[in-house]
Amino acid sequence: MAGTALTDPAQLAKFRAVQQLAYAAAESVGQALQPGVTEQQAVQRIRDYLLERGVQDWFHTPFAWFGDRTAFRNFWTPLKFFPTQRRLEEGMPFILDCAPVREGYMADIGYAGCLGTNPIYEQLMNDLAEYRTLIVTRVRDGAPLRQIYRDVDALLARHGYDNRHRVYPGRVIAHQIGMVHSRLPKFIAAGFGIRALHTLVGDLIVERMHHRSPLWADGEISNHPATPGLWAVEPHIGFRDVGVKFEEILVVPPSGDAYWLDDDLPHVRRWQRAAAAS
């Protein structure tokens, strides 16, 4: 997928449709969450929603994090990412994250919400908009990915927040996505779909030969401008025991003039509403 940059409008439309579906799942489940629901129940609801609507496979199975787990506090083993019996309470933030695959097209999205009101959540969500702008602007500038990662860190420091995406495997703020072509059986290992993982590992090897990586982090291997293709970008910022993120597809055409695949997403609508209100 990395080698062949996706620019065909018909294909992009399919990616957009899957991303819309994934966000619709997260938003509909998120808005229906009530006190007492566990992370595992929330995940099951997302799964049911998506399976009913034609999703056949997963890049990774859905995740749900409630309360201080949104900020990945004390995530000293990757097992901590998996949904638990933690129950949602009034004023608790939550994050729903899912990556469905439908007809070979995949999306990877993150949806941050809150049950009731939480001033820290509100502040974080408002500030998250700056990261979306910063990232696409810097990719367009042709800045090396590692530098953009550091720019994000600098913005975090200015805001007084923590970088929480560094807790993800490989400290990634983004990873490339594309069509899933694998013929392996549909099977989930450690939360990841085997077929999608197969594709990703293939990319890792190919990209490695070009001294690049489909994973975007702050290491030497990310010291190159964005590879053309689709990137699922997921800045995850935290303050105290609250974390918020978005995750959506950034299109990097060979020309380098990057853009977000879709602006009709819950977090973007939130910022548009806020801008219109002020």
Binding site: P119, I120, E122, Q123, A157, R158, G160, F239, R240
Partner: protein
């Protein structure tokens, strides 16, 4: 200030000399003095209060220019309450009054506010160093009934303080002691009593003889619903803290302030007494409660560690300053953030607001004496007197002594040392003036006691801050202000990035900064961890608080084997 004086004849015919001042129509404050004083005890307090209230003070029977009852019966507490009622009815027949009383005056006033006679005639009561006899009785009995170690300790403490009450019961000897001047000398030894008239002291002995004989059976507890504020001096040699303040079961609407002072608070701290009293009066008259009063309230609500506390932090736009501001806000404090970068300060205040009460941000260059003084005035007017001041702003200069220019020296001394001096002088000055105690926190560094060839300028300024803080701690102990010195060590902040590395060109300097930042990041001691330690140090009033392990070990080694540190000082710490 015009004072009008008149005599009021009380129920048993004894005349009381009453003095009134202040605007007519304003809320009336009636001040009752104790033993062995007369109304002049309140002179300085009256001067302050009379600007806004009608202030009434009178000589209690037996004292000053009031009449003297013939018999001991005339000094019984019920009669004293009738006197108070006569004064209140005469000076404010239509409106309830606010009471302010000290020592024996307090004892009478307690009897009045917990009794029926003056119900609806008193709106608020500020009591200084005088318990309710009835509460004291129950206080003693409760401790005898359940003699836990703590209860026994409190009992012994109070009995040790009250020996003179027993001595006053003896015939003639106390009179002789007063007339011979012995009692005055003894009093001067234990507290600053000022001068009192021998006749007043001798007459007043009857107060103790008529009212203080212990009873065998307990009377019913006397309670009151009105707003009561107890000002409890911490160094009171006659009334223990516990006896004065552990009364909430009888006084539900209670506020307690412990003040760093002795027994004669109205004489030694008139400004504080006036401020505390007016805060209660203004609130009872319908105003919002002042911060000090809110903090003093005794309620069942679970309080946060720093609720209703005003904290000022310099250099709080980033690093330890920001983290400390946030930590204080999270524990209930109202935080005032200052920084040389206004935007950064505002950002900290914004974050603090999500964790706790509303915070405010000010642009402030701590090295600018004029700016600091202006800030002090603004702070006082807009927010009040700070309870905690944290002089945190600081910069770094690293590199060999002979490469450090005079300009480098001036800059770092201006910020790191003068900044702290101005902070202590202006903001600490407000606290001294306010006489409510508090804490000054100066952020020094482990470099203050760990010599190194790499940081001559920085270490010199920080060592100066450490020395200054310890001297100031000695000076301000009497005022009840703690001075805490923090020596952080390697905390991952922006300091390495903003440090001036002398003796290098711009590119080399930038590279050094990056390497130093990397080292700080690997050390990975977060500002928030440091902030938590700072809060703990404030709570414990720690003299010198090293934060990280290396700072603690360094302090220990500097005391055990300073020679070792001197040899280590030859190593260059700056990353190449």
């Amino acid at each position: 200030m015009t004072v009008t004086t008149k005599d009021i004849i009380t129920t048993d015919g004894v005349p009381l000399r009453v003095h009134e001042s202040g605007p007519a129509g304003a809320p009336t404050v009636v001040c009752v003095h104790g033993y062995p004083d007369d109304h002049t005890l309140w002179d300085d307090v009256t001067t302050e209060l009379a600007a806004r209230y009608r202030v009434v003070s009178y000589d209690v029977r037996g004292a000053g220019e009031s009449g003297k009852p013939r018999s001991r019966r005339g000094y019984r507490i019920d009669q004293l309450v009738r006197d108070l009622a006569a004064v209140i009815d005469a000076v404010s027949p239509d409106r309830p009054v606010h009471l302010l009383a000290h020592d024996w005056g307090s004892v009478q006033a307690w009897h009045a506010v917990t009794g029926q006679r003056l119900r609806d005639r008193i709106s608020s009561y500020t009591s200084i160093s005088g318990p309710c006899i009835n509460h004291a009785d129950h206080w003693f009995r409760a401790r005898l009934r359940r003699p836990t170690p703590r209860a026994l300790r409190e009992l012994v403490t109070q009995l040790r303080m009250s020996w003179y009450v027993a001595w006053f019961q003896l015939p003639l000897l106390p009179e002789l002691a007063w007339r011979a001047g012995l009692a005055q000398r003894l009093l001067a030894l234990v507290d600053d009593a000022g001068v009192c008239a021998v006749a007043d002291a001798v007459n007043g002995l009857q107060l103790y003889r008529a009212n203080m004989m212990p009873r065998l059976t307990a009377s019913r507890p006397r309670t009151t619903d009105i707003a009561v504020q107890v000002l409890a001096p911490q160094r009171d040699p006659f009334v223990s803290r516990s006896l004065q303040t552990e009364i909430r079961r009888w006084v539900p609407n209670l506020a307690v302030r412990e003040l760093p002072a002795g027994h004669w608070l109205p004489r030694t701290h008139p400004h504080t007494v006036a401020r505390c009293a007016s805060e209660l009066i203004d609130h009872v008259e319908g105003g919002p409660p002042a911060r000090g009063l809110r903090r003093a309230r005794r309620t069942d609500r679970k309080r946060q560690r720093f609720d209703d506390t005003l904290v000022v932090i310099t250099g709080a736009g980033s690093g330890i300053g920001r983290a400390t501001a946030l930590e204080f806000a999270e524990h209930g404090a109202e935080v005032i953030v200052t920084d040389i970068d206004q935007q950064a300060a505002e950002r900290t205040a914004q974050l603090a607001g999500t964790l706790g009460p509303r915070a405010s941000a000010y642009l402030l260059d701590v090295s600018d004496c004029g700016a600091m003084e202006k800030f002090g005035t603004v702070l006082r007017e807009n927010h009040g007197i700070p309870d905690i001041v944290i002089n945190n702003a600081g910069i770094g200069v690293a590199g060999p002594f002979f490469d450090t220019t005079v300009a480098d020296w001036e800059r770092i001394i201006d910020v790191n040392l003068w900044g702290v001096i101005h902070g202590c002088r202006v903001l600490g000055g407000l606290m001294v003036e306010g006489r409510t105690g508090g804490t000054i926190v100066n952020i020094a560094s482990a470099a203050a006691y760990l010599p190194t060839r790499s940081l001559p300028a920085y270490a010199a300024t920080k060592a100066a801050v450490l020395a200054l803080s310890q001297c100031l701690r000695g000076e301000l102990a009497q005022a009840g202000i703690g001075v805490v010195t923090i020596c952080p060590g390697f905390v991952h902040t922006n300091i390495a990035n903003s440090t001036r590395f002398v003796g290098r060109d711009a590119a080399q300097e930038q590279a050094t900064r990056q390497r130093a930042t990397t080292l700080y990041r690997r050390r990975n001691f977060t500002p928030r961890q440091a902030a938590r330690e700072i809060l703990r140090a404030v709570q414990r009033n720690t003299a010198v608080a090293p934060i990280t392990v290396e700072a603690k070990a360094g302090l220990l080694i500097s005391r055990l084997t300073p020679g070792l540190l001197r040899s280590l000082a030859r190593t260059d710490l700056i990353p190449r």
